[in-house]
Symmetry: C2
Subunit: 726 residues, 2 copies
């Protein structure tokens, strides 16, 4: 069999004069972490070649054919050798990829398959009669595919194959990306180009990207994709579009990926010709039943509906005096016969509700706990506001023991510097997942809520709002790929550490050289605190410029909806700054377990990173370091700026280990990040100074421009806002 | 010196099971025609290696550094060898790239440089004292760069190097792409993704695409790029955006590419704070002068302004009772001190003008001939309507002997099936350029008008509305690259044949194998007639569906502006069909030279492909083949469909010669093309049948659906329409 890897000349220049002697493969980043270039370490390479001389792959299903292709590319590339597929070879030195039932009898005894779910797998080195095998096995095809990717990852990370003994079972059932992609290919909060879904040329034209997207997702265990924006367009549910969805579903199926769609609540009116979308109306009930049947006839493994209702202008059951419960169960009832899920978003708030926006989801949903149908998941953003650089965990986590709560993380960086800032998000995800809700005593972490273990949920899920666009490298910033990767790894196992994820990703994507991995990993880990410091230190939040959320806008206070204004969130005045959410304020803290409420309420125990989230404090309030709150703010902003400078220094020193293309690319982006970090510091401190009337702390670099200058900056075409089509 | 080509694994699969034994490089198309994979023919390879053992490249300017990079990539890739740069080697077997003045003395005598303009170059094989050299020389750096690309093209096409003697001088001065790219990155009439200009991340982030875009353009001699849509936004002229434009200009400069911007006529109001944009107002005059100075301070080689005024809702001098002449000279006056050009578009028509839309540009501009400033070019679309599959040449060509008329071709396929139809446009361009205006007797071709030779113009130009987007392969359809390539080649030399262009492009892009080149070239050449047949046969025009122009819409007659309605153009009724532009009708034919008018007027001499463009004829009018007009229409539609079937057959047979990735890609697209060709045939013939009341000709395949079905089709998110941003 011929080796199926093809070599393609990558044109890149402009930096060649500085090319170092070491030989790198220049990368445009399209390959993501599925980087199968030849293993550079000669000893490792020779060892692998001798250990894996042939491959025994049993089966010819579509998924097995995908596995074969991946092994041809992966082994062929990494080992730079022809991949020889053959039958079971008793002589050993063979990679065996086979479902347990199809394993050669003499190998079966090495495995205990109990508890290995549909998607789980095992990888094990087996010595049998003096012969050596590496075996990837599972109950189902999809487990084999996951195992194959893990096996390739072992090679990519130069792991020893002598004593492999891996058992992997995903801890979360539904592991999905949410694409906020519109039918016109704009992406709400998309910063890496436009939607990879080319609806116009579907179903006839299958872009290679669709296949590579599926590979990337499957390689980290993502098993679902919500193709469309939560701010939904009902057209996606028409036959014209369902044909296109079907074509994508067929591409994704062998990779174990189900498609989901966002369902616009008013679809029965808009495309169904009904006069109402009332969830209790018999015609409406029937319409959804018929629609579900129509979809499942075309896409038998359709995942289900994701619904944003009665939030930010979207229609919903409350338009008809009904509840979210009525709405969710309406759709759940329609999907139930086909095994479909309803993923109902808890991100709801109303301008007609004068209470703290942070409190509204809890108030709305907790009373309904236990009343949802079994195929309903409630999708909850990690915090109660909106994907800020740092938020305390959402009070809903742990508060609905009878309802499966699905985590919604944002992978795209709406409030985190778009695609030009290096911010390693798994560090943020880890912080949320490790937060303790105390709902069943100490150790009731959010991770246990999400994986269902805290209350023995029947189904569990995690969603990430995708950062994927049609930029060649998918995510704009090369390090944005790490967030996609990390989301997938945490959805599979919410207990992984951000550090382990960074380590893996760096090795897969760039290099196994410790002199590269260690400092860059450190830089990634620290990058999250940096962005908090230079944007939203000490618990400040939602002080972004309007609409696009690009850059600072703490002065904005003229928007029609009060809770869309930054001034609503920081409440700065001559007395002080911060949002009082204790009993003397909005009392949002009462929505947490008593232990948590107590910790955040008491200024002595409230971590300073959440200070202004929960408290309105005077400008001269004394921080733990003895400085005033005002000084502390300035120092934190400065610290953020300095941290970006450190990142630049770290990256500069990495030149010998990274191809020039990506090194230069990241350097340019870090320079932008520094410029914008300074912008944040200057704009925010100048603005808050109009209330504090205090001098800037001496350690803080003086602002480069006036407050008026910063207020004058306008970005009418900042990416990520949805345009209107006439 | 190390060879600078890096190899990168290209992941591609899904078709590997069918991979043939022959070894291709899999391509995602990003490299365009700059395909420097190793020369497959061993004898040729060895010959080249022995002829070009070293390279003598004199000079260190930015452009020369670009040349060096290109040679490293090109020679390194094609010859699969290290590229050795060294001083002049009297021993020979050397490639010499040097300005004439810097050539070694003993080689100078081999060249006569008279008449070689700034951009021209020579490539010559020289035997000197028994040693052999291939010399690329020119007066200026940019000529050297063009010569280098031509030299590499010789290798790519496996040309013999023994007796090269090439002199190339561009026949047209201004060779520009027009990007109809909006600041939100949507592209009006863009079908290959979204704008490659990422305004948000400019100027800090220089996308590698910008560099590769410049390489591609320079390689075919394009020397200017209009970055923004002719439906202009004044913001591009603000300092915030000019900083971004400057960054692009700096990338493009070494490649000999100037940037141009579209100037919104009302900019003095919108961004200048004036109350008028009246071209005779002193403040307005000063505003444009100041703006020009501001731009040239930042971008000393700025190309100039392109202006669409008083057309399709754009503001213009007529808003103030002034003429196009006033408007053009206003800006020309501002740019003149800096050497900038005004490119004023002749594509103007008004809904308030009841005359035939085809006549309006001529009426508007001919009286102004000779009154424009010297730095004004009038940019005229190839036909008087709008980029139809076939149009007679625009009557303005030849009719303004004292004004430089610039050709405007459309490379993007607004009316030609978007990016899913294979239609080789240089065939269309060639037809236009070879059309005879008879304005100075027989042989007064449009090409001679455009290159200025017919009337000794001081400046000449050709513009192509770009089909470039951020799809990985730039143009969506792999064959769309040929249109970009061909436009560039024809702008350099408007006398090239479409066949020669197809031949070159195929060899550069795919293969030199004659068994591939010949049939595919034939397919490309015939593809243009195919699209005419299945969309707009016998002179029908503008019967496209509304707004997006995707698919047939001959029934549309409800648009507010009469000349936006297809029914305006086909005028079908029970009597017959076609637009009478003879003396009995709109008399648009009177705008041509008498010889041309006579030919088109007389039904005996009017080519049948223009029949319904100029004549309203009864359904039973007898065509040259003896069939009725009605039958003829049906047969032409059928012929178009059959031609696409032939293309599919041809392409299918090419499997052995093309990498599977692109072969499959083109196959999928051809299937879409066939489906849509049938759609056109069925929809149009069913519609016209409601007037003709005649049976379909027996040779025509019966429609698959009813007319009502075709009328019901809606494409709300068809690409290429500009969305609105709130």
């Amino acid at each position: 069999m011929r080796q199926s890897i093809k070599l393609k000349v990558r044109y890149f220049f402009g930096f060649f004069l500085f090319v170092s002697i070491a030989s790198f493969s220049m990368s445009n980043g399209y390959e993501l972490w599925l980087n199968y270039t030849k293993i550079s370490d000669e000893a490792t390479l020779l060892k692998y070649r001798s250990t894996i001389q042939t491959v025994f792959l049993e089966g010819t299903s579509e998924t097995q054919s995908v596995i074969k292709n991946e092994l041809e590319m992966g082994l062929g590339g990494l080992l730079d050798t022809e991949v020889v597929f053959q039958g079971f070879n008793k002589g050993g030195n063979q990679l065996i990829v086979s479902k347990y039932n199809d394993l050669p009898q003499e190998l079966k005894s090495s495995f205990i398959m109990d508890g290995l779910s549909k998607e789980g797998y095992k990888i094990k080195t087996i010595e049998s009669n003096g012969a050596s095998f590496v075996v990837v096995t599972a109950n189902e095809d999809i487990g084999l595919l996951y195992g194959t990717y893990n096996f390739l990852r072992l090679l990519q990370t130069h792991s020893a194959l002598e004593n492999v003994d891996i058992t992997e079972i995903p801890k979360v059932d539904v592991r999905v990306l949410n694409h906020w992609d519109n039918l016109d290919r704009t992406i709400e909060r998309g910063f890496a180009g436009f939607s990879i879904w080319n609806w116009h040329t579907l179903p006839g034209y299958i872009d290679q990207r669709y296949i590579d997207y599926a590979r990337a997702n499957a390689s980290v265990g993502i098993n679902g994709t919500v193709l469309t924006n939560v701010n939904a367009n009902a057209l996606i549910l028409t036959p014209q579009y369902l044909e296109k969805v079907k074509a994508l579903a067929e591409v994704f199926r062998p990779y174990g990926i189900k498609v989901y769609l966002t369902a616009r609540f008013s679809a029965p009116i808009e495309i169904g010709g009904l006069e109402t979308a009332d969830p209790l109306d018999a015609d409406v009930i029937q319409w959804w039943k018929d629609k579900a049947k129509e979809i499942y006839t075309m896409i038998p493994d359709f995942g289900g509906f994701v619904v944003k209702a009665n939030s930010e202008g979207q229609p919903g059951p409350q338009n008809y005096g009904r509840s979210h419960l009525d709405g969710a169960n309406l759709m759940a009832n329609a999907l139930e016969p086909f095994g479909g899920l309803v993923i109902w978003r808890a991100f709801v708030y109303s301008e007609h509700d004068p209470t703290d926006r942070a409190k509204q989801a809890y108030s709305e949903f907790v009373p309904e706990d236990g009343k949802f149908m079994d195929n309903v998941l409630l999708q909850v953003k990690n915090g109660a506001i909106d994907f800020q650089p740092r938020e305390p965990f959402h009070p809903l986590f742990g508060a609905m023991p009878k309802t499966p709560l699905m985590m919604e993380f944002q992978i795209t960086k709406e409030y985190l510097g778009f695609a030009t800032h290096l911010v390693f998000l798994p560090k943020l995800y880890e912080e949320v997942l490790q937060s303790d809700t105390y709902r069943k005593g100490k150790g009731s972490t959010v991770a246990k809520v999400i994986d269902g273990s805290l209350n023995n949920k029947k189904v569990s899920g995690m969603a990430g709002v995708s950062n994927v666009g049609n930029d060649i490298n998918w995510t704009g910033h090369p390090f944005g790929q790490a967030d996609w990767y990390g989301f997938g790894r945490l959805a599979w196992n919410p207990y992984m550490t951000a550090e382990d994820i960074a380590d893996e990703w760096l090795r897969l994507t760039f290099s196994n050289d410790e002199k590269f991995v260690e400092p860059v990993k450190q830089m990634m880990i620290e990058s999250r605190e940096a962005v908090v410091n230079y944007m939203n230190p000490l618990g400040l939040h939602h002080i972004f410029d309007t609409g696009h959320h690009y850059g600072p806008g703490p002065w904005v206070g003229n928007l029609s909806r009060p809770e869309w204004n930054p001034v609503y969130y920081h409440k700065a005045d001559s007395e002080g700054v911060g949002f009082d959410r204790t009993k003397t304020g909005s009392n949002a803290l009462s929505q947490y377990a008593p232990e948590v409420e107590k910790m955040f309420t008491d200024l002595k125990t409230c971590p300073e990173e959440y200070l202004l989230w929960f408290h309105h404090l005077p400008w001269d309030y004394t921080l733990k370091n003895g400085r005033t709150l005002w000084d502390g703010l300035g120092l934190k902003y400065q610290e953020g700026v300095d941290e970006v400078r450190d990142m630049i220094k770290t990256w500069e020193a990495m030149k010998p280990y990274v191809d020039d293309a990506r090194h230069h690319q990241v350097s340019m982006l870090l320079d932008i990040q520094l410029e914008e970090a300074i912008w944040w510091k200057d704009a925010c401190m100048l603005y808050f100074q109009t209330f504090s009337k205090m001098e800037f702390p001496r350690e803080m670099e003086k602002p480069e421009h006036t407050l008026d200058y910063y207020k004058s900056l306008k970005f009418p075409f900042a990416p990520g806002i949805r345009p209107r089509w006439d």
